[in-house]
């Protein structure tokens, strides 16, 4: 507890953009075969530092096979909510779940170079207190830390629906299930909200048997992955509307609401449209009578390719699907970054008019049957995946792995973990030649978190004025 609010808590997105820039990034180190323990890499991102662009510290956990994926902060700008009075928390701990083991680590990064494990929550405790498994997305919310889980109970996570549980933001004790009325929600992936407007939006990937051992082609072609998003009355914990994009829109993943809390719209990325292999972005919004609406506002076409250049999974299609696997919205709600993991492209859309996005920039690196090198001449395995935008919107970082077993299906010949960065400046959106991190042998990389918050962590309670 501090006497003053943590200086990294900002009342509005605009204030967060003006705050001092990040010096460190925290990135998942993932051992795809469980041969080594997973960890969190502390990356120096201060250009004036001697160790700029290097991993300067690693927190390697004692267990193996956790499979780190997404993670988040114990506290963010939502602590300045006028309703909750948590303003004196510190942004100090990273909550890092193992998506395969269901174990959760709380890592103390107060001193980034001496980051260490603060607490471990064993899977049995999570199962007993929540009935959920495979914890995934972390957000700090009104009553504590919210964690979405991809699995329900039982060995394969299909005994009961998956959902969100709440954790105490000071003791990290698991409190219990969030939902009081989940309506039609029976799968889970991402979630985010607008705190003053009191709504939450959640999305769907698939149930654990549909992803743990790789993508199940039959399920995908018969449209059995998630294709709906759910709108919730956040504080009443009730699903108020389920919106089905259409069953061909397979895997509605990342939810990115506008950061400015006066706005009532956001975006959702769809991995693949099974009718034409396109990737898609939907804009969702609340209309005047309070009903949620959505419209497909971006489509990205597949690229034709000879079957012999494609992995077995794609040979029958003679095309590379874009595979929109992650999206991120800059804090000024102006640019939406769209990772096309299959194509090997990162797109930048101007979404100032959220109903009419315009492609503003694009970089190519990696990609199925293309494998474009980084501008420094070194290889980039797989394609652009987890993307994180700096608070000021000038630097866009990303890594390359999607999910251990899926990497191997879509890129059977690739291996390795890379983290790179693109600048967004007067020369447009372009890769930075000097920022390239090759992860230690045997490790892949996934989500990135930036010191002091980034564009997919903080929730703001006051508008930018």
């Amino acid at each position: 507890m501090n006497l003053r609010p943590d200086p990294t808590f900002h009342a509005s997105p605009k204030l967060a953009m003006q705050a001092p820039v990040e010096n460190y990034a925290f990135t998942v180190m993932l051992s795809p075969d469980g041969a080594q323990s997973d960890g969190i890499a502390v990356v120096d991102v201060n250009p004036s530092s001697k160790t700029y662009g290097q991993i300067v510290h690693q927190v390697i956990v004692p267990n193996k096979g956790d499979e780190f994926h997404h993670f988040g902060w114990n506290a963010c700008s939502s602590s300045l909510s006028p309703l909750t009075g948590h303003a004196f928390l510190e942004r100090r701990y990273l909550i890092v779940p193992g998506i395969r083991s269901s174990r959760i680590y709380v890592i103390d990064v107060k001193e980034p170079l001496k980051a260490k494990i603060h607490k471990t929550i064993e899977p049995e405790e999570l199962f007993a207190k929540t009935g959920y498994s495979r914890p995934h997305t972390i957000h700090c919310g009104p009553e504590g830390i919210y964690v979405s889980c991809l699995g329900g109970g039982g060995a394969d996570g299909t005994d009961g629906p998956p959902g969100i549980f709440i954790m105490d933001c000071e003791t990290f004790e698991i409190i219990g299930q969030y939902e009081m009325d989940r309506g039609k929600q029976d799968k889970h992936y991402d979630f985010w909200w607008n705190l003053p407007q009191d709504y939450m939006v959640s999305s769907e990937w698939g149930l654990p048997p549909q992803f743990e051992n790789g993508v199940v082609a039959e399920d995908l072609l018969s449209n059995k992955y998630g294709h709906s998003i759910h709108f919730w009355d956040l504080r009443a914990r009730k699903n108020i509307q389920t919106m089905d994009f259409g069953e061909n829109y397979q895997m509605a993943l990342e939810i990115r609401p506008a950061h400015d809390p006066t706005k009532s719209y956001g975006f959702c990325g769809v991995v693949v449209d099974t009718t034409n292999l396109q990737g898609a972005i939907f804009t969702w919004w609340r209309d005047d009578d309070g009903t949620w609406q959505s419209k497909k506002t971006i489509t990205i076409d597949p690229r034709p390719e000879k079957p012999e250049n494609l992995p077995p999974l794609l040979q029958g299609f003679e095309a590379v699907p874009p595979l929109v696997t992650d999206i991120d919205l800059s804090l000024d709600d102006k640019y939406l970054y769209v990772a096309c993991w299959g194509l090997g492209e990162m797109h930048q859309y101007d979404v100032s008019d959220p109903m009419n996005p315009v492609l503003a920039g694009k970089v190519e690196v990696g990609g199925i049957a293309r494998g474009a090198d980084h501008p420094n001449g070194k290889p980039f395995a797989y394609g652009p995946q987890m993307v994180e935008v700096s608070r000021d919107g000038k630097r866009v970082y990303w890594t390359n792995s999607l999910y251990s077993t899926w990497d191997d299906q879509f890129y059977p010949d690739d291996e390795g973990g890379q983290m790179i960065m693109a600048n967004n400046d007067e020369n447009g959106f372009h890769l930075d030649k000097d920022f390239y991190i090759d992860f230690p042998k045997g490790y892949r990389s996934h989500q990135i978190r930036l010191e002091g918050g980034d564009c997919s962590t903080d929730s703001f309670c006051y508008p930018s004025v």
Binding site: N2, A11, S81, G85, A87, E143, G144, E170, P196, C461
Partner: protein, 215 residues
């Protein structure tokens, strides 16, 4: 007597400055609705909730006080209760989670709950009882008249306190909203938890001292 009334006003200013009593909500309401008029409206609703919370604590005590024979005991017990609340807040430094469940638009309800959760009403009890006792000393009155007088005093104390609170909180909210900007929202936010708990203990102790010494 006048000192006690000043204490009621001062406690109001003190509560108003505490972000936990809601002034950031008034700023957020005006910004979210994008109109100035939302600010006084939010302050009014917060004041209503606070006023009701004060009454909810003070009225039961005003009813009890017609047991003139037990006046000292009642005042001592009230002092002990206030000290206990302070000690509780000192030991349990956690914030009440229930407040986070209130819908952001239900400002009066939130304010009522926030005031009670922090023992804001209790802080007034020793002052209020002191004023009632001073009133009773001025002449022998029938029990019924005494009670009526006490109820009137409860309303006056709650009103004066809430007015002072709204003035202080409203002033900060208006200054931040109109001139300083949101940056000062987090800058003016101090952790008053410890000070608040200690204040409760001091006020409770004062109440006991005043009762025993016949003030």
């Amino acid at each position: 007597m006048a000192a006690l009334w000043w204490a009621v006003i001062l406690s109001g200013l003190y509560h108003g400055l505490n972000p936990g009593m809601g002034w950031p909500l008034a700023v957020s309401a005006a910004l979210m609705e994008q109109k100035r008029s939302a600010l006084p409206r939010a302050l009014g609703l917060l004041a209503l909730g606070h006023f009701l919370a004060m009454l909810a604590i003070l009225l039961p005590f005003s009813m009890m006080l017609f047991l003139v024979a037990w006046e000292v005991q009642i005042r001592v017990a009230a002092g002990v209760l206030v000290i206990a609340m302070g000690v509780y807040l000192l030991i349990n430094r956690r914030h009440p989670k229930a407040l986070a469940r209130v819908h952001p638009a239900r400002l009066a309800f939130w304010s009522f709950l926030a005031a009670n959760a922090h023992g804001a009403g209790l802080m007034l009890v020793p002052l209020f009882l002191g004023i009632c006792a001073a009133d009773a000393d001025t002449g022998h009155q029938a029990a019924e008249a005494l009670m009526r007088g006490n109820i009137l005093t409860a309303f006056t104390v709650a009103l004066a306190h809430t007015a002072a609170m709204t003035l202080a909180g409203g002033l900060i909210a208006v200054i931040i909203y109109l001139w300083l900007g949101l940056k000062f929202l987090s800058k003016t936010w101090f952790n008053l938890d410890l000070v608040w708990a200690v204040t409760l203990i001091l006020v409770g102790a004062f109440g006991i001292w005043a009762a025993v010494n016949g003030h």
